[in-house]
């Protein structure tokens, strides 16, 4: 069982450790520097962080000794001639996603970025833009930024049965799938709804805020979308709207899937696109145990007045029992009973961007 959690914040990386059943902050790194993304490579235990320096650009660092030392490697670089559009050269704006490439492919990482490039990093840390996705005919006119200037690949889901079977979630474009290790890509957005487009059922132009899968049942994927919560049981061929228009689980950014139970997931609701605060200014976490047919709302231990917190897309995690989330106003909470009761880890942290279990 992983007994640590990495927390990426606007002012550095925190390390939590579970001690006697409670999560404690035990270390911090990169003091004062925005750490927008954290990740542990399960194959070798390496910790990875993406830094978003205000002045010096996005950087990648890893630690193979649990944070005792860190090594910087060259961040993804868009090649000469890569253009966002005809008159706009592409350069790295943000690092949005890490995923292991999986056994069978050259060992390394997939890295998702803004302005819309997926990179493959091999075990020698050599980076290559995945040209097949970058050159997808839908990209120049059909992908665009949502909340940021350009489209970003924020979700990478590798099928636990097949490392060549990969989904990416792109804001704003939608879900794309490859079954051949990235040689060809196909949109998988049937059943989604893009209320902000002239044609809400358009093939391209959807806004999945986060895409996750059930590790034990890879055909089951979930997404917290700009326009609701959606689930598929057939590997993305058809998506079903599982939002709760009469309840709390509708708009938000984060979603966590139970790694073993394909019927269970958690979301961190916000009021709406136009009012990005906790629903009724009362914090809650919602959980479904039946594939999204119904949602339960849990509040015990969470602030129930004047709560303006938002949970960013990478800031809600669950291993099936422990659930943790961090908020834009620096609150960090944990639950040891599947999200039903909550404890405060801290109310005084910087804005929280990203959480990841670690060992």
């Amino acid at each position: 069982m992983k007994n640590k959690v990495l927390v990426g914040t606007r002012k550095g990386l925190l390390v939590l450790e579970k001690q006697n059943g409670s999560w404690k902050i035990v270390a911090d790194h990169f003091m004062g520097i925005p750490v927008n993304l954290v990740f542990e490579d399960a194959r070798n235990g390496n910790w990875w962080v993406a830094l978003d320096h205000g002045h010096w650009g996005n950087k990648l660092h890893f630690s193979s000794d649990k944070g005792a030392t860190w090594t910087e490697i060259t961040a993804p670089q868009y090649p000469d001639g890569a253009m966002i559009k005809d008159d706009k050269p592409a350069s790295l704006r943000y690092i949005w996603a890490f995923a292991e490439t999986g056994n069978g492919l050259s060992e390394g990482l997939w890295i998702g970025t803004e302005p819309g490039g997926l990179f493959h990093m091999d075990r020698e840390c050599k980076m290559d833009l995945v040209e097949t996705l970058w050159n997808h005919p839908s990209r120049p006119e059909g992908w665009f930024g949502g909340g940021r200037d350009y489209a970003g690949i924020h979700s990478i889901v590798v099928d636990s049965r097949d490392p060549g079977h990969i989904y990416v979630g792109i804001s704003v474009a939608g879900v794309f799938e490859t079954r051949d290790g990235g040689n060809s890509w196909y949109p998988k957005n049937k059943g989604l709804r893009a209320d902000f487009l002239p044609d809400p059922q358009a093939e391209i132009g959807h806004d999945p805020h986060l895409l996750v899968s059930c590790a034990a049942y890879p055909n089951v994927l979930w997404q917290q979308n700009h326009c609701g919560i959606f689930r598929t049981t057939d590997g993305g061929e058809n998506w079903s709207d599982i939002s709760d228009p009469d309840g709390d689980a509708n708009f938000g950014f984060a979603i966590a899937a139970d790694p073993n139970d394909p019927l269970r997931a958690w979301v961190a609701p916000a009021t709406s696109d136009g009012v990005r605060v906790a629903v009724d200014k009362k914090m809650c976490i919602c959980r479904t145990d039946d594939g999204g047919n119904t949602w339960k709302t849990f509040r015990n231990g969470l602030p129930q007045e004047y709560a303006y917190d938002i949970v960013f897309r990478h800031a809600l995690i669950s291993n099936g029992t422990d659930v943790l989330f961090g908020t834009t106003t620096g609150n960090l909470f944990s639950s040891a009973d599947e999200g039903e009761n909550w404890s405060t880890i801290s109310n005084f942290l910087p804005m929280i961007y990203s959480l990841a279990f670690a060992s």
């Binding site: 606007r10 320096h53 205000g54 002045h55 010096w56 650009g57 950087k59 910087e72 060259t74 961040a75 670089q77 868009y78 000469d80 050269p89 592409a90 350069s91 790295l92």
Partner: protein, 90 residues
């Protein structure tokens, strides 16, 4: 020779960074030289297209360089050059 100076902020990432003198004739040459002396430093100052990062400023004789894209501002002998961070919030 021109003298090159740095914002103290960069010393956090390159602790051995020190002012030095150069015969480079323009900013582009200077950035290449910097990366030879301090591998990787280039990526802190310019992006992968070679353009000066948005929140980085380079001053020659106390004037901001004009060409942030191709970095062709000339450097004269005895110029004082400063590589600085712009002011930004947060």
């Amino acid at each position: 020779m021109a003298n090159v100076n740095f914002t103290h902020a960069l010393k956090r990432f390159y602790p051995k960074l020190e002012p030095f003198s150069t015969t480079c004739e323009n900013v582009s040459e200077l950035i290449a030289l910097l990366d030879d002396k301090y591998p990787g430093l280039r990526n802190y100052i310019v992006d992968e297209q070679g353009q000066l990062r948005k929140h980085v400023n380079i001053f020659i004789q106390q004037k901001l360089i004009k060409d942030r894209i191709n970095l062709q501002d000339p450097i004269q002998p005895d110029d004082e050059i400063y590589i600085m961070q712009a002011l930004s919030g947060g």
